[in-house]
Assembly symmetry: C3
Homo-oligomer: 139 residues x 3
């Protein structure tokens, strides 16, 4: 069993890929048969396994979720009460409920068992720049 933490810088809503960073750490631990668990230690960002072939997919994912969960300045969201941290804050909590906070990925012979087109992403839900912390355990 080993563990580490990754620090990721974000600059606005959207998907930030970090597949290679994680893959390198996993490979460095040896040719393990294991399970990798990741947790993002925030309630306004998510972890996603998503297509990494066409960047349009990432643009569209961001666009869809902004429409599904609009800023609290949008009249249709006027029933929300937790608005004092900015119009993107409560929508960020809603998206972080709806999208994964933790992921567990099988590791076979020291490699994550991801499909050909699958990458690992941090999905940032806030507008301003943030430092995000992802804790990982391999066992």
């Amino acid at each position: 069993m080993s563990h580490t933490a990754f620090e990721l810088s974000t600059h606005g809503q959207g998907l930030y890929e970090f597949t290679d960073t994680v893959a390198r750490w996993v490979a460095g631990e040896g040719p393990l048969e294991a399970a990798l668990t990741l947790i993002v230690q925030h309630t306004s960002a998510s972890l996603l396994i998503q297509e990494n072939a066409d960047p349009e997919v990432q643009v569209d994912l961001k666009a869809y979720f902004v429409r599904l969960v609009p800023p609290t300045t949008d009249p249709c969201m006027s029933y929300l009460t937790h608005t004092y941290e900015g119009p993107d804050d409560m929508p960020a909590h809603i998206k972080s409920a709806m999208l994964p906070t933790t992921l567990t990925i099988p590791v076979i012979s020291g490699r994550m068992a991801l499909g050909t087109w699958q990458g690992l992403y941090l999905f940032e839900h806030r507008d301003r720049p943030h430092r995000r912390r992802v804790v990982a355990v391999l066992r």
Copy 2:
């Protein structure tokens, strides 16, 4: 490897925090490096990692998901067929598909690696009181 089960009483839709109950059990197992897996053994309740600082967030989460998945008595849900268990039943299944049934959390030195503002919640999707069972394994 050890396992246990937590029984939680709910009285209507909303979030019920049980971070401390889980943290005490984990700590009692010793200063482990491990992964904790939880499963809620029902298809009308979910598990969430969410902000535990401001209770408004929990009120707003409930309010958002009630609007996203209205009761089957709402005209916009008239296409649904599984309605004989009450107007909150099929929406509960939909929410339980959309929100986590299982969570895996890294454990470092006998403590869950949660962020400062993260708590562990059962999200009840039914209106009437229920007893909910959450099974946990630590390994």
Copy 3:
């Protein structure tokens, strides 16, 4: 620790149960106390733990998510850009972000700790037939 892969054939959107296939493999590994991790190696299908009592629930789940994330031929989805792989492709990626790609399930005495009414499903989001690969590790 052991691992395997399951291949599932799908023929259009909807839920495909494979609880028994997984349960047989888990039981064959002995009376383990363990955690089972599954990953679907695609970004247009999901894994679900859902009610397996009444098949209406599965029909309604499919119907709800088709309305929440309509095909890109629907005018309300005209802002999406990743449309060249068919009207069901980008909605499939959105659903695969929203619904689980990985699941971890406690295993006690060689059996998955599922509730009485819980079954394990592949949720296919594409219209045409596909072969889907689910990798499993037990440890």
